[in-house]
């Protein structure tokens, strides 16, 4: 491995951190404006109460909870995918793990905020800790999401350490940034002992994070599943949510990768093959999603419990049919794009599919939450459809902009593609070849015998 190659990679990947273009500031200003607008909307909500939303005593949860479920879903992009790829030793993961892990942390932050936004008396939030009822699924969420946030933050920071060392030693970086890098590099000098420990730590985290991530989305689904509401109270809900989460997570990851690749001209790192591989994963998840959806709706529809039929018919033919079929159509388009166009236009097809999937999954969350609430188990009055108010729209848009904003700041401070992991790829390649040789007939080595 030559130093020049290493230097080239380092230079390439640290360039976005060192050089800041005008477009960056322009976008930053736009995002900040959107977030401030959302804050204003929230202040309106704080001073006038949740009356400024479109919710009512029937549809007591609306857009905020939809966003919550959606963001928590997106969060699975990261950590879970990068952890699975790490554990399974998929070499092609190297340039995409950081992109994914950052999504996780920021999506979780925004997801958690959604719950606070939804509360009638947010200043009492700590009551959940001081007087918590362990039997409430909401408390399971508080616990699981906190653990997930902490561990995914840790999982993001661990592989950052060597990169922080690289940036710390970069002569072009000065001032407060250098101090951040110095602090976050934790005295990294790249000696073998440090490397060994880091590998162990990352290995443990990668394994630990998988059950944590799955528990998180199961618990999110159980907020709904544990109630005795039609179409919520089903055993399929937890796996359905987990599948949906990984599904939307991969789509979000593909979108983030495509944007970063374009903006920072990292075509040499995020190659079509990465999109193609993620596309395969996405096809699997689309198929799974269809399977779960059909299973869920067929069971409910065939059984024909009158309460469930209320909700089901509202979705299939009634007041929510537009949304529902738009969702189905989005997923179908995504599936077609992935299956038929992925091999020729890897990036184009996966990106288009991802756009449809992200939108479709947001609608899916919405059409799980709202129709069940709209169609009472015991309808006591005329059905009224919930429409989000301008405050909810503003806060929602601001939340998405806030997510992008956090990501934006992250990209400016930290290398979005793990420098050391990419640099290490060639060394790893040698090991891989040895391992593959072991599979082959006619050769026995010490490792296979032991």
């Amino acid at each position: 491995m030559s130093d020049t190659r290493q230097d080239r990679i380092t230079n390439h990947l640290t360039r976005p951190i060192i050089k800041t273009g005008r477009a960056y500031y322009g976008t930053l200003v736009l995002l900040v404006i959107a977030v401030i607008w959302g804050l204003i909307a929230y202040i309106v909500q704080l001073t006038r109460g949740l009356t400024v939303t479109g919710m009512n005593n029937n549809v007591a949860w609306g857009m905020y909870i939809t966003n919550f479920v959606f963001f928590i879903g997106i969060s699975h992009a990261g950590t879970l995918i990068s952890a699975i790829l790490r554990v399974s030793g998929a070499e092609w993961r190297r340039p995409i793990t950081r992109v994914a892990e950052a999504i996780t942390v920021f999506a979780l932050v925004l997801g958690g905020i959604q719950i606070l936004l939804d509360m009638g008396r947010p200043e009492r939030a700590l009551n959940v800790i001081f007087y918590g009822r362990l039997g409430s699924p909401l408390l399971w969420d508080v616990i699981c999401i906190s653990i997930y946030l902490l561990s995914s933050l840790f999982y993001l920071l661990l592989p950052l350490i060597p990169d922080m060392g690289i940036l710390r030693d970069n002569p072009d970086i000065k001032g407060w940034r250098k101090e951040i890098y110095r602090l976050l590099s934790f005295g990294w000098d790249g000696n073998p002992e440090q490397k060994r420990r880091l590998e162990i730590a990352i290995g443990i985290m990668a394994i630990a994070i998988i059950p944590i991530a799955i528990s998180v989305h199961s618990v999110v689904s159980w907020i709904f599943g544990m109630t005795i509401r039609p179409m919520w109270h089903t055993t399929i809900l937890a796996p359905y949510f987990v599948v949906g989460a990984i599904f939307s997570g991969i789509a979000a990851l593909i979108l983030a990768m495509a944007i970063i690749r374009k903006v920072y001209k990292l075509e040499d790192y995020l190659k079509p093959i990465h999109f193609r591989f993620l596309g395969v994963l996405l096809i699997t998840m689309t198929a799974l999603w269809f399977y779960f959806t059909i299973s869920e709706y067929l069971t409910a529809g065939y059984g024909g419990l009158s309460e469930e039929m209320h909700v089901l018919s509202a979705k299939l033919t009634g007041e929510f049919s537009g949304l529902f079929w738009f969702m189905v159509m989005s997923m179908t388009i995504a599936f077609i794009a992935l299956v038929f166009f992925r091999s020729k236009h890897a990036i184009g097809a996966t990106v288009i599919a991802s756009i449809f999937i992200v939108i479709g999954m947001w609608i899916e969350r919405y059409s799980i939450i709202v129709p069940t609430l709209t169609n009472y188990a015991v309808p006591s009055h005329e059905v009224r459809i919930y429409y989000p108010s301008w405050v909810e729209w503003s806060i929602t848009i601001a939340s998405f902009c806030g997510f992008v904003l956090l990501y934006f700041i992250f990209v400016k401070l930290f290398p979005i593609i793990s420098i050391w992991e990419v640099e290490e790829a060639e060394e790893a390649l040698g090991e891989k070849i040895e391992v593959i040789k072991d599979y082959m007939p006619g050769k026995t080595s010490a490792t296979t015998e032991s």
């Binding site: 200043e123 700590l126 602090l183 590099s185 005295g187």
Partner: protein, 329 residues
């Protein structure tokens, strides 16, 4: 041992303060006035005595590149050459304790290598303690002012907002941060053998004193409550020089206030005076403009000089006679 001495000293002082329940005038009026007088007088005395110390040289021993040729980038904050730069550097030091951010921990690795790792703990503890102390001081203005300024009320509400309805009356976030910060600063001294070795009783004393003040204050607010109206009457009386001591105030209050008085009186004569000292720290309050501006050493005595001009004036004729070229004819 040093820690125990300080702890005992603070406990004794607190017990002395409890006597205020019986001698309200002494502990509620006379001692507070004396303490404030000592605090203000002592601080002024210290600052003026520092101001009288001559500064022989500008001290450029700071990090970062000093101002030099135009194509060499100057570290404008670390090594400022203008007053504005000095103000920025000083503000960062006073407000966010920038130099503590440079705190590093030296670790001897198993491999025999020495590594320097950043250590944020001291900075965090110090920030927590100092900032919450400021908030707590400002919050206490509600006792010292009548009517309390609007901003103090807002501060008080915001401080309580995050932990609202946790306790009755509302627990303030700053109270908790204050005690946690202090506890860390104390723990730090006790936990590390090196730090314990260099810590004297006077290092522990202020920590215990502040902890005592914090705990007695929290106790007074939440557990053993007293008539707040009477306390405010006393406080307002003190600042308007017409003090009234009500007998409805309990002893714990006097314990609290006596420790505060001790702190105030002790302040100018201890390491705590860094509050004023930080502004006079020569490596922080001077611009490094040695190359641009002449700095006259105040210790310089008038040296008797004899310039070439004078020399020539004196010897011109003789020089001309000898054929030596001269500047002026």
């Amino acid at each position: 041992m040093n820690a125990v001495i300080s702890l005992v000293a603070v406990v004794v002082l607190f017990l002395v303060g409890l006597l205020g329940g019986w001698a309200g005038i002494l502990f509620g009026v006379i001692i507070p006035y004396l303490a404030v007088a000592l605090f203000l007088g002592g601080l002024i005395y210290r600052v003026i005595s520092w101001a009288n110390v001559p500064v022989p040289f500008r001290i450029p021993t700071t990090c970062g590149q000093q101002q030099s040729l135009p194509w060499i980038e100057q570290a404008k904050v670390d090594n400022p050459s203008t007053t504005f730069g000095v103000i920025v550097r000083m503000a960062l030091e006073v407000l966010i304790f920038r130099s503590l951010l440079r705190n590093t921990k030296t670790v001897l690795r198993e491999s025999g290598k020495i590594a320097y790792a950043g250590s944020l703990a001291l900075w965090l503890g110090a920030m927590m303690f100092h900032w919450s102390l400021l908030v707590i001081l400002l919050r206490h203005l509600r006792f010292l002012t009548e009517p309390a300024p609007f901003l103090i009320t807002i501060l008080q509400e915001v401080d309580g907002f995050l932990l609202l309805q946790v306790w009755m009356p509302v627990l303030y976030l700053s109270s908790i941060l204050f005690l946690v910060g202090l506890a860390y600063l104390l723990f730090r001294r006790l936990a590390s053998p090196q730090l314990r070795y260099i810590s004297l009783a006077i290092d522990y004393f202020p920590l215990f004193l502040l902890l005592g003040i914090g705990i007695s204050g929290l106790w007074l607010r939440h557990l053993s409550k007293t008539d707040v109206g009477s306390i405010k009457e006393l406080a307002v009386g003190l600042v308007t020089f017409s003090p009234v001591v009500n007998n409805t105030i309990n002893s714990l209050f006097f314990g609290h206030i006596f420790l505060v008085c001790v702190l105030l009186a002790y302040f100018p004569f201890s390491k705590l005076v860094h509050m004023a000292g930080v502004f006079l720290s020569p490596t922080r309050n001077m611009a490094n403009n040695n190359r641009a501006v002449r700095h006259v050493n105040p210790w310089d005595y008038p040296v008797k000089t004899h310039s070439y001009e004078e020399y020539e004036d004196e010897w011109r004729e003789k020089m001309k006679g000898a054929g030596v070229p001269v500047d002026k004819e």
